[in-house]
Symmetry: C2
Subunit: 368 residues, 2 copies
């Protein structure tokens, strides 16, 4: 009796996963973290109006969600100065990424990204047999010109660029992104990941026409709107591309509580402003804590701060492990030279108090 | 300037969708349905304990869900007399089906199902380039022997069988399913869809060892547990197969409100018993309404009833359209001779009052 016959592609895939979740780390530790600052979640929480909408919608959970996400898409179209036909709602950017890769990437097709950029994107490219070409960061930022040059060289179908960037928190003016599009090779789509855009200064959102067929933008309710656990994000692109997702997506895949929460969250602009304010304060506090310990915090247009630990990747990993051992969940870049940093999500004062308490101990342990 | 270059497979896919949702039909009508009896949702609602758990978890929505669904899997393992390693939690059976097909089916690979069985399964098979072979129903039931014979003939990698069956509501004793496994060809996996198992008589759940490598079972919180809008289901299978999903699934894809609700729903066995009782009452009432109108309701082990409209598919479609026009959302089988039926989900007394009121009018209109 033989087992199931997997595809050749599946047989070729490693059984690694993109990330280990904090709950699994907590179970290994045997005790909860004191500060959950590793996944760029919003410790300032979701809009109270979104919570209220989700609690009300829980009573309606017996019904499937609207597969067209009609009301939310209409609100998002308004929010993005686009038409409903430009908007796709999906199961977070992770889910949208998987479907976009599936639309474009057959085994052997070339894809370009930055070395050290979002691992879940790389996971999806590998999962569909794509060949990933990586371009190094330049001065701790992604390098759009190099990405597009490489895309031309390898005849890429898809290029990934995050603005602002994760894991470094760096950014470009949106007009730079728009200008770079002119160098995009024909038949290559730019995936512009704007997951952190709500934390960025004015002008970082690229002024791209929603109908521009060269680019698809992705945004999420996981970061600025504090709803990571709801798994809801959206894409903005030309109607033909948005419609193409209908050929493969899980049409009845959206949780209706998430749909209701996202709609309420989008309308609560006062809460978003409050979170933006709290995040700015937390970025300054993280930079101050870093400085108190002789470390340098990199500038950030996101809800996290990359802190340069002042030595190599092995040292930063020791700092990270020492923080984890002291109950502080953080993560770090993995590719040199960015791997000299640890990445700390913005937290509330009480979370950053724990960081201030434990960072000196972690540095001492890493140096011992 | 060219647009994105889709894969050849995507270019070959039609832009049809498996189902039009009731909200879209309502928007076309310009008015809500009076009775929502078309999607086999549970009009009796979710467990109040599940609602309470979801409402509490809404406050925690800023955190990603546990990618391992640890607590829920442990509870499901207990529920299924299995080990945690046998259990996979996913975004409803629809999501699990998509990933299972992706694991096994490369372009050109053979898959077997019944003609008229679950369209979303067929959608996923087409979406990964599989070649679908269909076996007719026999006496309004799926035909396991014919499915397995066909699987052998076409060297199928995967066979789909629902027990109880949708859209007819028919069923086999679980021991029949277990016995049929002996005829499953080597290297062919049986996908046993048990979405409706909570409504079936004792003995319909197949007594399959969770470690049996020949079969994967799928169940859901959408039907008996009344949480269709939460998008959460689970698969039970051999550990190697369950682990294989980790190579391709969206690890951070689960909504944490859904995880919390499912755990509470699973524990509220009293609510499930209440729903089972209400469903049994509703099935009898639908049969009585059918009989009052000279129609025959087929026996059902599910939360819906297929009602034979007594003529051909075109007539049943006219009945369906006339019910829709009168505010009653129902669906119907599409393949002859099962398409002579309409499929009516179990509802509360007030929902079935609307059915009793409108069915005579719909029949008159269909006959006119």
């Amino acid at each position: 009796m033989t087992g199931p016959r997997y595809t050749d592609l599946v047989n070729s895939l490693p059984s690694t996963v993109p990330f280990v979740g904090p709950e699994e780390l907590e179970r290994s530790r045997g005790t909860p973290f004191r500060a959950r600052l590793g996944a760029n979640e919003s410790l300032f929480g979701p809009s109270p109006a979104a919570v209220k909408a989700m609690q009300a919608e829980a009573l309606e959970i017996w019904k499937y969600g609207d597969p067209t996400s009609h009301d939310l898409r209409a609100a998002l179209a308004d929010h993005m100065q686009a038409r409903v036909e430009n908007i796709l709602v999906g199961e977070g950017i992770d889910g949208l990424l998987g479907n976009l890769v599936r639309l474009l990437v057959a085994p052997g097709d070339a894809v370009v990204t930055s070395d050290g950029a979002y691992p879940t994107f790389n996971y999806h490219v590998a999962g569909f047999g794509g060949v990933l070409h990586k371009v190094p960061y330049r001065d701790d930022r992604e390098d759009p010109a190099a990405l597009l040059t490489r895309a031309k060289e390898v005849d890429a179908k898809l290029v990934y660029l995050a603005n602002p960037d994760n894991p470094m928190g760096s950014w470009y003016p949106g007009t730079d992104i728009l200008a770079a599009l002119d160098d995009l090779p024909d038949g290559c789509l730019l995936l512009l990941d704007e997951a952190y855009i709500e934390f960025a200064p004015t002008g970082v959102a690229a002024p791209i026409d929603a109908d521009d067929p060269r680019v698809i933008r992705m945004r999420t309710f996981s970061k600025g709107y504090g709803m990571a656990g709801a798994r809801i994000g959206y894409a903005v692109g030309a109607p033909d591309l948005i419609r193409a997702f209908d050929r493969i997506r899980n049409h009845f895949g959206m949780n209706r509580v998430a749909q209701a929460g996202a709609l309420a969250a989008l309308r609560d602009t006062a809460w978003l402003a409050h979170v933006q304010d709290q995040v700015a304060t937390a970025r300054d506090r993280i930079a101050a804590i870093a400085a108190d310990n002789g470390l340098v915090a990199l500038p950030s247009a996101t809800n996290f701060v990359a802190v340069d630990c002042g030595a190599d990747g092995a040292f930063a990993t020791r700092v990270l492990d020492a923080l984890l051992a002291r109950g502080v969940f953080v993560r770090k870049p993995v590719v040199p030279p960015q791997d000299r940093c640890i990445r700390i999500s913005c937290g509330r004062p009480q979370d950053l108090d724990v960081l201030a308490e434990t960072l000196p101990q972690a540095l001492a342990a890493a140096r011992a």
